[in-house]
C-alpha cells in the first residue's frame, strides 16, 4: 500500500497562522487559557501526560487501518495487563506492532535556560497586574509567580514491528518532527521543547534461531520546567505618595528700579526679587550717594549689603564706581522686595 505513488492531499490547512510578536502573545494567552490571571502549575505528571499525548497524536502510526497502540510502562506487573489487554492474544501476550514509552525514573537538572547559578531564594516575580476598584480608590492586584524550576525528562520511545514499511513510517515522522531540532509540546499551556537525543536499533534480527522483529529506540529529552502553584501570590500593589519637584531652568535676575529727584536730591533703589529668582544682586553706583534707610521689606528673611566687598549698614556712603552687592534670603516661591533710600551728594 505504501509503495503506491502518493495522491494529492485534499485536507490542507488554509487557516492563517500567527507569527512573530502576535504568536508570542498568543503563547502567553494559551498559558492562561480557560483559567485565572495566573498560569496553571506544572507537575511531573503534567509533563508525562503531555509527552504521552505527543507520542499518541504527533507520532501516530496507522498500520492496516488500525492505530498502533502506545503503552506507557511502569513497574507494577498486573497493571501492565490493564494497558495491553486490548491488544493481547489467548496467552495474554501483546501483539506486534506497538509503541512503548518508558520514562527514566531520574529527572535531570534542566538544560533549557537554567543550568548555572540562580537566585538562591524562592522569590516571586510579577506575572500580571490586574486593575481593581474598591468603590473609592482604583488600584492594582499584582499576580506573582516564582521562577519555574527547569528539569530535563528523558524518555525512551520504542517501536516494535515486523515490517520495514512500518518502521519507515515511524522514522519518517520522527525525522520530520525533529528536522528543526526541537518540537514543542504544551503541558498545561506552557510551551516546552522536546529534542531527539539519540536513535538506535535494538532489533534482534541477527539471531537466526529466535523470533525476529524490529525494535527501534528513540531517546527524547523533554526540556521542561515545573511550577508549583502553591507558591503563587496575589498581593495588592502598594499605595505610593507622589512627590513632585519643579525645577526652573532659567534663573531670574532681580530687578532694580532707581528713582531720583534733582530738586530734593533724594534717590531710592527699589529692588525686586521675583519668585525663584537669584538672591544676589550687584550693581555699580553711578553717583556719590549716602544711603540712610531701608524700608518696605517684604518676604525677606535677611539682607546683607556689601560695598566693594565690605559689609555695611545704614547709613553708608558710596562713591561713583563702587560695587554694591545685595544678598538676601527669601522664600523661593514668593516675590520679595525692599527699598533703599538715600541722598545724592
Amino acid at each position: 500500500m505504501c509503495a503506491l505513488p502518493k495522491n494529492y492531499r485534499k485536507n490542507l490547512n488554509i487557516l492563517p497562522k500567527k507569527y512573530g510578536p502576535e504568536q508570542r502573545e498568543q503563547l502567553l494567552d494559551n498559558i492562561m487559557d480557560n483559567g485565572t490571571y495566573l498560569p496553571k502549575g506544572v507537575s511531573l505528571e503534567d509533563l508525562d501526560s503531555a509527552f504521552i499525548d505527543f507520542v499518541k497524536k504527533d507520532l501516530e502510526i496507522v498500520i492496516d487501518g488500525e492505530k498502533i497502540p502506545v503503552i506507557f510502562l511502569t513497574l507494577q506487573r498486573w497493571v501492565e495487563f490493564t494497558k495491553t489487554w486490548e491488544f493481547t492474544g489467548k496467552h495474554k501476550d501483546i501483539k506486534i506492532p506497538f509503541i512503548t514509552i518508558v520514562r527514566k525514573p531520574d529527572t535531570q537538572p534542566g538544560t533549557n535556560q537554567q543550568s548555572l547559578w540562580n537566585t538562591a531564594t524562592r522569590l516571586t516575580y510579577t506575572y500580571y497586574k490586574v486593575p481593581t476598584f474598591d468603590g473609592v480608590r482604583k488600584g492594582v492586584d499584582v499576580y506573582k509567580i516564582p521562577q519555574p524550576t527547569a528539569i530535563d525528562m528523558l524518555y525512551e520511545v520504542r517501536i516494535f514491528c515486523n515490517k520495514m514499511v512500518d518502521l519507515n513510517k515511524m522514522q519518517f515522522k520522527i525525522n520530520q518532527i525533529f528536522r528543526s531540532r526541537q518540537f514543542y509540546i504544551n503541558p498545561n499551556g506552557h510551551p516546552m521543547p522536546i529534542v531527539l537525543d539519540t536513535s538506535g536499533d535494538e532489533s534482534p534480527i541477527n539471531d537466526f534461531e529466535n523470533r525476529r522483529f524490529y525494535v527501534q529506540l528513540f531517546e527524547m529529552r523533554l526540556m521542561g520546567y515545573i511550577l508549583d502553584s502553591d507558591e503563587f501570590e496575589v498581593i495588592p500593589a502598594k499605595n505610593r505618595a507622589l512627590l513632585i519637584y519643579e525645577v526652573e531652568r532659567n534663573v531670574r535676575k532681580p530687578m532694580v528700579k532707581i528713582k531720583s529727584d534733582k530738586d530734593t536730591s533724594l534717590i531710592s533703589y527699589n529692588l525686586i526679587f521675583k519668585p525663584l529668582s537669584d538672591t544676589t544682586f550687584t550693581t555699580i553706583a553711578e553717583f556719590d550717594i549716602k544711603f540712610v534707610e531701608i524700608i518696605g521689606l517684604i518676604n525677606i528673611n535677611s539682607l546683607i549689603i556689601t560695598v566693594n566687598s565690605n559689609i555695611v549698614t545704614t547709613p553708608f556712603v558710596v562713591t561713583s564706581g563702587d560695587e554694591i552687592t545685595f544678598t538676601i534670603s527669601k522664600p523661593a516661591q514668593l516675590e520679595s522686595r525692599f527699598t533703599l533710600n538715600g541722598k545724592l551728594l
Binding site: 504521552i52 506507557f72 507494577q76 506487573r77 497493571v79 501492565e80 495487563f81 490493564t82 495474554k92
Partner: protein
C-alpha cells in the same frame, strides 16, 4: 465457536483416558499426600482502581476475586542478603527468594481459576505470617515437553513468582 482438533499422537499406546489417569495420580500425590498449599489472589482487573496516567494502584485500590487455595509443589528459594544502597553497602535487607510452584491445569479448571501475570500468591510460612509474591511467569504456555505427559498434552504449569512489598499488596 472454534473447531476442535483431535489429538491423535501416541494413539497406539496413550489416549485421553491414560492422560486423565496420569493427572489423577499426580494430583492424588500433591493434594492427598504432600498437601502443600498456596493462596491465589486473582486481580479483578475490571474493578481495581488504577491511576489514570501511570496505571498504578495502592494496596487498598486493588480488588481481587475470592481467594483460592491451590495444592501445589512449592520450591521457595533461599532469601537473598541485599542492600538498598548498591555500591555503598548500606541499608541491608533480606529479600525473599523466588517462589516456584507446579499446579495441575485440571485443578485450576475445577476451581474456575486461572493464574495470570501479576496475580498475587500468598504462602503461609508460619502460623502467624503470610508472605506475598507476584506472578512473573504464569506458565500458560505449558505445551513444552517438561509440562506434558509423554508429549501428549500440557498437564501442569510451573508458576514463577517474585516477592513483593507489603505496601504493594496485603490480603489482611
Amino acid at each position: 465457536m472454534s473447531n476442535i482438533i483431535p489429538i491423535n499422537r501416541l494413539n497406539k499406546f496413550f489416549s485421553q483416558n491414560d492422560f486423565d489417569i496420569e493427572v489423577q495420580l499426580g494430583r492424588e500425590y500433591i493434594e492427598g499426600d504432600i498437601n502443600m498449599r498456596v493462596i491465589l489472589y486473582q486481580i479483578d482487573r475490571e474493578t481495581s482502581m488504577v491511576d489514570d496516567l501511570y496505571g498504578e494502584s495502592g494496596k487498598h485500590d486493588i480488588r481481587y476475586k475470592v481467594p483460592v487455595e491451590l495444592s501445589v509443589i512449592v520450591t521457595l528459594s533461599e532469601p537473598d542478603n541485599k542492600v538498598y544502597n548498591e555500591g555503598s553497602g548500606s541499608l541491608r535487607y533480606l529479600q525473599d527468594g523466588q517462589l516456584r510452584f507446579g499446579v495441575y491445569d485440571s485443578q485450576l479448571k475445577e476451581l474456575g481459576a486461572d493464574i495470570t501475570y501479576g496475580d498475587y500468591i500468598g504462602y503461609v510460612v508460619s502460623e502467624r505470617e503470610i508472605r506475598y509474591f507476584s506472578v512473573v511467569n504464569d506458565g500458560s504456555k505449558n505445551y513444552d515437553n517438561a509440562h506434558t505427559i509423554f508429549g501428549y498434552k500440557g498437564a501442569f504449569r510451573t508458576i514463577i513468582c517474585a516477592p513483593v512489598d507489603n505496601d504493594e499488596f496485603s490480603s489482611i
